[in-house]
């Protein structure tokens, strides 16, 4: 027994105009100042006004949304009592909207106690709309959110199926001016999530279909949007790919590259997509060495030569590295600018964090501490995984 969940997805040009059809009293838009400055929040407000809804704009989401900011936001939600909550922005804003919604619906709840095994009140007061302005995290289609407790200096993962947004609006107009570096980082997150969710022990027929097609779209359109951000057709497909991969990922799980990337991201403040994508080729090699993987399927979907798992995986790794080079991404920790002493000092903590990451258990081949240590070391120098 397993579930398949997806938000109601509105996609393509003019998708944002769906907001003008909303029925209700008040919408509460959760975003950040950059989105406001770029005029994207105004596009949303115009539609809400056309729908005859009152609105409140909250633009205080930080790049790494903090528990403290979310609690502040939930307090304002309580004062304004909206029946729609709209998360607008990159993964941070969408995660912030999910978390603030959870607190609004469950006053006083400790977000750190929220887990996938219990059920929580949601949708009694408001429904959630997610509007991504990057093409990558897939947060618009998942039931997870990550917060940072700035007082205790720790990450808090919130995951419960009810946190899935009711609607995801995938409008390419919102990503037309995404800068190349963010396009690459977020696009590679989508790629990593899609490839990992296809290999995860939680994978299933439903997630497989989505992940495989997302990988195809990303390989075709990510180089194009990186080279020419104004390529409207490519932007639209890439924006769809991120959501498709997100639904696949949300109904399966990411795996080892995400565990390693999370650890690296926290200790060295590396953008999420860049960190997870850096580890992806190494973890593919490690996984295929253990047997039982399904990389040949992916290689085949990309029309790469594949006689068997080993050649499929090798050609997939080569294709990923090619793509990463085109996107001017680092392939090793050294290229990322981490020096040897800093790396060695952080290594025990990197291993400890990666091996307690929840996504390690969904990896097809679960590394022990020694394997993890070597994986990080090989990724530092860019050595092929031979164990």
């Amino acid at each position: 027994m397993w579930y398949f969940d997806s938000p109601h997805v509105i996609f393509g040009e003019e998708a944002l105009s769906y907001l003008a059809e909303l029925k209700g009293r008040r919408a509460f838009v959760i975003t950040d100042r950059t989105i406001v400055r770029l005029g994207l929040a105004q596009l949303v407000i115009d539609q809400l006004t056309a729908a005859g809804l009152a609105y409140t704009l909250f633009d205080e989401v930080e790049p790494e949304p903090s528990l403290q900011m979310i609690q502040h936001c939930a307090g304002i939600l309580e004062q304004h009592h909206p029946d729609w909550i709209i998360g607008l922005g990159g993964g941070s804003c969408l995660d912030a909207a999910k978390a603030a919604w959870l607190l609004y619906e469950n006053p006083g709840i400790d977000p750190a106690s929220v887990n996938p095994f219990d059920q929580y009140t949601l949708r009694d007061k408001a429904k959630l709309i997610a509007i991504p302005t990057t093409s990558g995290t897939g947060s618009e289609a998942t039931w997870y959110a990550v917060l940072t407790d700035t007082v205790e200096q720790r990450k808090i993962g919130i995951g419960t199926r009810g946190l899935l947004p009711d609607y995801a609006i995938i409008d390419p107009a919102l990503v037309m001016s995404l800068p190349p570096a963010t396009t690459a980082d977020t696009g590679l997150d989508a790629l990593t999530q899609s490839i990992e969710s296809y290999q995860s022990t939680w994978r299933n027929d439903f997630s497989d279909a989505l992940c495989l097609h997302a990988v195809r779209l990303i390989f075709t359109y990510l180089p194009r949007v990186y080279a020419a951000g104004t390529d409207r057709e490519a932007r639209e497909h890439m924006h769809n790919a991120a959501a498709i991969g997100g639904i696949g990922f949300g109904n399966s799980q990411a795996t080892l590259a995400h565990c390693m990337g999370h650890a690296l991201g926290v200790l060295f403040h590396i953008p999420h997509g860049r960190a997870v994508a850096l580890f992806l080729p190494y973890t593919i090699e490690f996984t295929v060495n253990g047997g039982g993987s399904r990389y040949a399927d992916i290689a085949q979907a990309l029309s790469l030569p594949t006689d068997n798992e080993a050649t499929g995986a090798a050609n997939l790794v080569a294709a990923i590295r090619d793509l990463e080079r085109q996107l001017r991404q680092p392939l090793t920790l050294r290229e990322l600018g981490i020096d040897r002493p800093a790396f060695e000092q952080a290594l025990p903590e990197l291993v400890a964090r990666a091996e307690t990451d929840t996504q390690i258990a969904t990896s097809l081949r679960v590394p022990d501490s020694g394997d993890l240590r070597r994986l990080f070391e090989y990724a530092f120098d860019g050595k092929g995984i031979d164990f």
């Binding site: 027994m1 397993w2 579930y3 750190a112 106690s113 887990n115 996938p116 095994f117 219990d118 199926r161 022990t201 939680w202 091996e355 307690t356 990451d357 929840t358 996504q359 390690i360 258990a361 969904t362 679960v366 022990d368 501490s369 020694g370």
Partner: protein
């Protein structure tokens, strides 16, 4: 000829597998906590079967079939039907997925379990290594 699932002998065999497993020892090196695994609806059993296991820093300190459920008050209780336990031991059901879908019902601190995902995986691996007879 295997060992009957959920018998005291089966628990001893599991303890033996855990003690032999480097993978488990490494994955569970910081784990502290004991369990009742409760099997409901087991063929040939009039009542629920309580299996006690005490796991500590990569070691299985104790494992037995409890004759009196009140004998211990473990930190965690996981309850499932006989059919579900069989799927877990046969590696046909990931225990975390089983908990998400409530096929396995857990009492105790869920977050502590979520921080030890690798230990859970290795523990199941050890259980699969016990040659098990499944009474029909």
């Amino acid at each position: 000829m295997g060992i009957k699932f959920a018998s005291d002998e089966w628990m001893k065999a599991l303890k033996e597998e855990l003690s032999k497993s480097d993978g488990y020892r490494d994955a569970a090196k910081t784990w502290e906590g004991d369990f009742y695994w409760v099997v409901t609806g087991m063929p040939g059993e009039a009542a629920n079967v309580h299996l006690y296991v005490d796991l500590w820093h990569g070691e299985c300190r104790d494992a037995f079939r409890a004759t009196d459920a009140a004998a211990k008050t473990p930190e965690f209780i996981i309850e499932a039907t006989y059919a579900v336990w069989r799927k877990v031991v046969d590696k046909k059901l990931d225990p975390l997925q089983g908990m998400v879908t409530r096929q396995l019902k857990l009492k105790g601190n869920m977050l502590k379990i979520m921080k030890a995902p690798k230990a859970a995986t290795e523990l199941v691996l050890c259980a699969t290594r016990v040659a098990t007879d499944w009474p029909a």
